[in-house]
Amino acid sequence: MAIDREQVHKVAHLARLELTAAEEEQFTSQLSSILDYFEQLSELDVQDVQPTTRAIDVSNVTRADQLKPYPNREEILDSAPDRDGEFFKVPKIINTSE
């Protein structure tokens, strides 16, 4: 199952990655050979096989839903590239020029 340049472009957008033209071209050929390699899995009959979602089964892990204030709130906010008081600040979401 090969992948074409248009699909690579689409997947990059889904992954929120801006790729250069050169990267798009390179990934198209590299991803195609990797996807070709995956084809060998079709040699196995997996129709009645249950998928493994975790390496070692543990039963559902739950905890009481209790509020636990984080002690270093300021430090967390300070890690942000841009903050405004107690908010994370981001560029405008809607582009006015559009």
Binding site: A12, R16, E18, L19, E23, F27, L44, A55
Partner: protein
């Protein structure tokens, strides 16, 4: 540099102070780093502070644990409070964690002395440490060769005696393969034995932290300190942690050892094969019963892994959006542009490639063909192991198909790099404990590793086989001349 136990005796007998031990390690790091580049950051100040505290405890007559005062290196994808944790990625180049990973805290509690954060493939994605955004680490046995990866810095640092032991993480072989390439002991414990809290997530169903050491005993001492249930990790196992050093007995009488037939096929270097065959003969001489074991689905591990791991990675790495921490590009017009350009500039080629594979494999219309199928193949590989462990106590095979390769040899072809994980990946897919121990050298003087695999939570069997083999051989006593 001495073993943990030797250093411990020197410390409690006051032959040397912890500060002297730390200073010696830092001095050696400063001498060797211009050649090796194992460390992304040397934490000399932290090390001296921690060593002073150990010396104060010795002066006060307190009883010390074995790790107190021991210089350790920590892979830079493990969070250390107040100390940069970059994952060797531009996107985290300024990230100072506000908390300690559980393993970091456990090392602090044990009195270990952190000498630095070690280099890795970016986000632990790679097999040579060449995808690090910051530097190339050299193999101490041959500076033109890679140390393996992704935990290449942790392996090189221990091999070159820049620290006594170190922590790595292993998602598809990232502890065992660099241990093999650098001629040291490296262990991936059973999935869930060591807490992943504070380990920067790559592929959460596979990631596991483990020790690097120059001897099996040192590895057991370090595992003692880091293993154990942690409520902060929802996949942490609620099990009793034994003292792993009790399994270090040099006797394999009656032990059943399986040799995985499929690992001796095409692509295996002849010198690696010879060394591993000799190691198997050695195990037999020690009293083990050897039998060939077939794991017919083993070879599908790489394909299954390179679907599952990138899929999980694409989800895990979605958090790097330039909003809450890490890098953000400066001049974005809007939010979408900020996301896409921050991630374009922040991630290197291999990380982007894996995010792309994972996003594609999980996208509408492809999920069943890739991700679901890979998870089913994962079940088949587990079944092969389950059948094998019905017959034997441990399985053995080469850790890697070749000794360390030259820098640049495989970086142009991603698939060729993926193929070197052939023998380590199935162990992660099944969540089993696996260890690489030195078992010889190539004619060019490069180390070769023997992989010993145990059943779920049977670290005891792995340690016993590894220790018995190590005590009967002298590979681990050789050191590189850097």
């Amino acid at each position: 540099m001495a073993s943990i136990r030797e250093l411990h005796h020197q410390l409690i007998n006051k032959e040397r102070s912890a500060v002297e031990v730390a200073q010696e390690a830092i001095a050696r790091i400063q001498t060797l780093e211009p050649k090796l580049h194992s460390f992304l950051q040397v934490t000399a100040e932290v090390a001296l502070q921690q060593a002073q505290q150990v010396d104060a405890r010795i002066a006060a007559g307190e009883e010390l644990g074995l790790l107190a005062g021991i210089p350790v290196g920590i892979k830079d994808n493990i969070c250390t409070k107040g100390v940069l944790t970059t994952c060797a990625s531009r996107i985290l180049e300024n990230f100072v964690p506000p908390y300690d990973a559980t393993v970091s805290q456990k090392l602090i509690d044990a009195g270990a002395v952190m000498v630095g954060k070690t280099n890795l493939d970016e986000f632990a994605m790679g097999g040579s440490t060449e995808t690090s955004a910051f530097q190339l680490t050299a193999n101490p046995w041959d500076l033109e060769r890679v140390p393996g990866g992704s935990s290449g810095g942790s392996a090189a640092a221990v091999a070159a005696e820049e620290c006594v032991v170190s922590l790595g993480s292993d998602t598809g072989g990232s502890i065992r393969q660099p241990a093999s390439f650098c001629g040291i002991v490296g262990m991936k414990p059973t999935y869930g034995l060591v807490s992943r809290y504070g380990l920067v997530a790559f592929a959460s169903s596979l990631d596991q932290i483990g020790p690097f050491a120059r001897s099996v005993e040192d590895a057991a001492v370090l595992l003692n300190a880091i293993a154990g249930y942690d409520p902060m990790d929802s996949t942490s196992l609620k099990v009793e942690i034994p003292d792993y050093t009790q399994f270090l007995v040099p006797d394999l009488n009656g032990k059943k050892v399986g040799v995985i037939t499929e690992t001796f096929g095409e692509g295996l270097d002849s010198e690696v094969e010879k060394a591993v065959r000799q190691a198997i003969q050695q195990l037999k001489d020690l009293g083990a019963e050897i039998q060939e074991i077939s794991c017919p689905r083993f070879r599908y591990g790489i394909a299954a892994y390179y679907i599952i791991a990138p899929s999980e990675a694409s989800a895990n790495l979605a958090r790097y959006d330039g909003v809450k921490y890490g890098k953000r590009i400066e001049d974005a017009e809007n939010l979408m542009e900020m996301y896409t350009r921050t991630r374009a500039e922040g991630f290197g080629a291999e990380v982007k490639r894996r995010i792309m594979i994972g996003t594609y494999a999980l996208s509408a219309g492809y999920y069943d063909a890739y991700y679901l199928k890979a998870q089913k193949v994962r079940t088949l590989i587990k079944q092969d192991f389950e059948a094998a462990f019905g017959k034997v106590d441990v399985l053995v095979c080469p850790t890697a198909p070749t000794p360390a390769f030259k820098a640049g040899d495989k970086s142009a072809d991603p698939l060729s790099m993926y193929l070197i994980d052939l023998m380590t990946i199935p162990v992660n897919l099944a969540g089993l404990p696996g260890m690489s121990v030195p078992c010889g050298f190539s004619s060019e003087g490069l180390p070769i590793g023997l992989q010993i695999i145990g059943n779920v939570l049977r670290e005891d069997q792995v340690f016993q086989a590894a220790y018995a083999y190590e005590q009967a051989t002298d590979w681990h006593t050789r050191s590189p001349h850097v």
